[in-house]
């Protein structure tokens, strides 16, 4: 097993809310008096449940009791909703802020990329900015000189390298800034959600560069992203933070699954009585959408064996249109699993209804949502009713004694068997 390069032990971080004024000056004095002069614990910080009580509502715990280990060569993805403490954790590991309690120990050179273009100055040319931001990120002059051409080539701003960056397009700016950081050679690289900027092509390039860094050179990466796809592609472990607490740490698909399940809300039925208030337009208006699980007992939970009946009704607002509906099923991370069109029908003014049965033993466990769309003459889109139903499917393994995350978006039961074809004679 590779050696541990970072260990995080019982990390807490408290931030003070509100503005700094006379009140905070008084608290500062009080804190200094009790903790430095009287040598007692900080009166505004005690580890415990009191923080949730509202008594210390002026303070927020950005991290609470976070502990984990990072091994040499790990690529760890950190996930969680906004404000869950991801960036705070990265800032502590990068030595930018100090924890309120707890300790991080490690070995090797750490470089962090928490923002694209730290240290860039608008007035300076691309060339000067490459040097200065390289220095700030901890590179040496010979190192930058050696990689200068590579950096410029990666960013694709060759022609503008002596122009002040304030005249760059924002895309060029971001590319140049990332290019510098991408050529760092630390033992441990810490990357915050920096890929959100830049176009798809550039994001792909960045991810590729990061994968190259982690896989070919065996460097350790800590990576925050909201893109589950990026985490799946790049990381071999994931850490889920929720309101500063560590919810899960381990294999990527399991952690992501837990995180997504936690975040989603199930929605089995929506209906409207009055066409004027219903979603839609002057072609179609939705009357109801409903998901009916075909459970054998009503108290059973939905799992991968459950057939699901989708029923919907809508008002057709015009006479004589050749209409068809489409049912789209998405996984929670936004990948379309299928796009199923209904046969076309000639519709008259009035209520139309449709239904579709998604068989059991077809989808994998996870969270899904359904969108409906309506099309005229098989080609003219009339109305999209996005994310109108959502549901969770729990796992069911039966006899299988294996609990890892089952791969794939679907888990169909196609006929499949193995049998003995020949036998070695004893």
């Amino acid at each position: 097993m590779p050696e541990v390069v970072i260990t995080v032990e019982h990390l807490y971080k408290m931030y003070r809310l509100g503005s700094i004024g006379t009140g905070s000056f008084r608290q500062d004095l009080q804190r200094w008096w009790t903790s430095s002069v009287l040598n007692k614990q900080d009166p505004f910080f005690q580890v415990g449940e009191e923080f949730d009580s509202g008594k210390y509502s002026q303070h927020i715990m950005a991290l609470q009791d976070v502990s984990f280990e990072v091994r040499q060569g790990d690529a760890i993805g950190i996930i969680g909703s906004n404000g869950s403490g991801k960036s705070t954790l990265l800032k502590i590991i990068s030595r930018i802020v100090r924890p309120t309690e707890g300790v991080v120990k490690g070995k090797g050179k750490v470089s962090s990329l928490l923002e694209v273009g730290t240290g860039f100055h608008q007035e300076l040319s691309g060339r000067e900015n490459i040097y200065i931001s390289g220095y700030i990120l901890g590179m040496s002059k010979p190192e930058i000189k050696r990689k200068f051409d590579e950096i410029v080539a990666f960013s694709g701003v060759e022609k503008f390298v002596d122009t002040p960056v304030k005249r760059y397009s924002s895309g060029m700016y971001v590319r140049l800034a990332f290019a510098v950081a991408a050529h760092l050679e630390p033992d441990i690289l810490i990357v915050d959600e920096v890929l959100a900027v830049g176009d798809a092509d550039f994001q792909k390039k960045c991810l590729g560069k990061m994968r190259e860094v982690s896989q070919s050179s065996g460097r350790t990466i800590l990576f925050v992203s909201h893109s589950m796809q990026a985490i799946k592609n790049l990381c071999d472990k994931a850490l889920w933070l929720n309101k500063g607490r560590m919810q899960a740490f381990g294999h990527v698909p399991e952690v992501i699954n837990k995180y997504l399940n936690n975040n989603q809300k199930t929605n089995f039925r929506q209906s409207w009585d009055n066409p004027d208030e219903a979603p839609g337009n002057n072609w179609v208006r939705i009357k109801s959408v409903e998901l009916i699980p075909k459970l054998e007992h009503s108290e059973n939970i939905l799992d991968i064996r459950t057939p699901l009946l989708v029923k919907f009704q809508f008002w057709s607002m015009k006479e004589d249109i050749v209409l068809s509906a489409g049912l789209l099923l998405f996984s929670i991370s936004g990948e379309c699993i299928f796009d199923l069109p209904s046969p076309t029908t000639l519709s008259h003014k009035g209520v139309m209804e449709g239904e579709c049965l998604i068989p059991g033993d077809f989808l994998n466990d996870g969270s899904y949502y359904i969108s409906l769309n309506f099309v005229k003459d098989t080609s003219v889109p009339l109305f999209d009713f996005d994310e109108c139903l959502s549901f969770d499917l729990q796992d069911y393994r039966g006899e299988i004694q294996w609990y890892g995350k089952w791969w794939g978006t679907v888990r169909p039961k196609f006929p499949f068997c193995i049998k003995q074809a020949d036998m070695v004679q004893k």
């Binding site: 502590i92 070995k107 300076l124």
Partner: protein, 284 residues
């Protein structure tokens, strides 16, 4: 567990130490220091026509004003030195001190966005600011030396080039260190309580009047001289003039008093800065 046999290279916890950086670590950031100095020079003169010539024009314009106001209008004595030479020496020294001080005292306020995104020894920033002003000062000093040569050739200014010339670098260095020391202290104070920024700008103006910038110490009535001499900058300003022109009112104990205070301030400020700078990131 392999972790028990591990020897950690670094550790981050809530305690901050007075000695937060090893010399080795600081040495690794020498490129950053040089880069920041270069950046400040480049930035000062972006989109100006005269560019770096402003390093010289600025003190010259101040000099003209001072000569007009303090010499011609008010008539403050400049001792045995020609007013131009006297004021020029005062202005470049004072500008060096005051710019270095104001620059380094804004360390946190000006660089909050960088400090909150990337780690490097924070002290590199104020040191780079003082170094920048030091280099500017050296250029101005060259101009000043040319003025002196002109005056010694075409007027009765006599240069005293003897062993005292060795005191010149001492006086300059310690003025810079003093600026760094008090600048570091003020940067810590103003980081959290911005009120102090206003006091600092007012304070630096007042300090100028108890420093022999526009008058020699000898121009002060004897019973009030202690007010000026308690200022650790005073002996250094006088020493600067003494080393070049043999004209300065300063004793050896006063010089040592001044050096002692500056060393104490600088060490104290550096230690406090190391201790406090990581905590301040949360509030700037």
């Amino acid at each position: 567990m392999p972790s028990t046999t591990n020897k950690w290279e670094w550790q981050i916890d809530k305690s901050t130490s007075f000695w937060s950086h090893s010399p080795k670590e600081l040495w690794a950031y020498r490129f950053l220091l040089a880069g920041l100095i270069k950046r400040q020079f480049l930035l000062n003169y972006q989109q100006t026509i005269l560019g770096p010539l402003w390093i010289f024009f600025q003190p010259i314009l101040t000099l003209v004003t001072y000569v007009m106001v303090f010499n011609k209008l008010i008539g403050i004595s400049t001792g045995n030195l020609p007013p131009v030479v006297f004021y020029a020496s005062g202005i470049i020294l004072w500008n060096f001190f005051s710019d270095s001080f104001t620059g380094s005292s804004g360390t946190f306020k000006e660089n909050a966005h960088i400090f909150s995104k990337v780690y490097f020894p924070r002290i590199v920033m104020p040191v780079s600011i003082v170094s920048t002003h030091f280099i500017r000062f050296l250029m101005q000093l060259l101009l000043f030396l040319m003025v002196i040569i002109y005056y010694s050739l075409f007027s009765d200014l006599r240069l005293h080039l003897n062993i005292w010339i060795l005191a010149l670098p001492v006086s300059i260095t310690f003025i810079g260190l003093m600026a760094l020391g008090v600048g570091l202290l003020c940067s810590l104070l103003t980081a959290k309580y911005r009120d102090l920024t206003n006091l600092v700008t007012l304070g630096i103006r007042l300090v100028m009047f108890v420093t022999p910038v526009i008058y020699p110490v000898t121009a002060i009535p004897e019973r009030l001289r202690w007010v000026v001499q308690i200022n650790p900058l005073t002996p250094l300003f006088e020493l600067f003039r003494l080393s070049l022109f043999g004209e300065g009112y300063v004793t050896v104990p006063q010089v040592f008093y001044s050096l002692g205070i500056i060393v104490l301030v600088l060490i104290g400020a550096t230690l406090l800065f190391n201790k406090q700078c990581d905590k301040l990131i949360d509030v700037v």
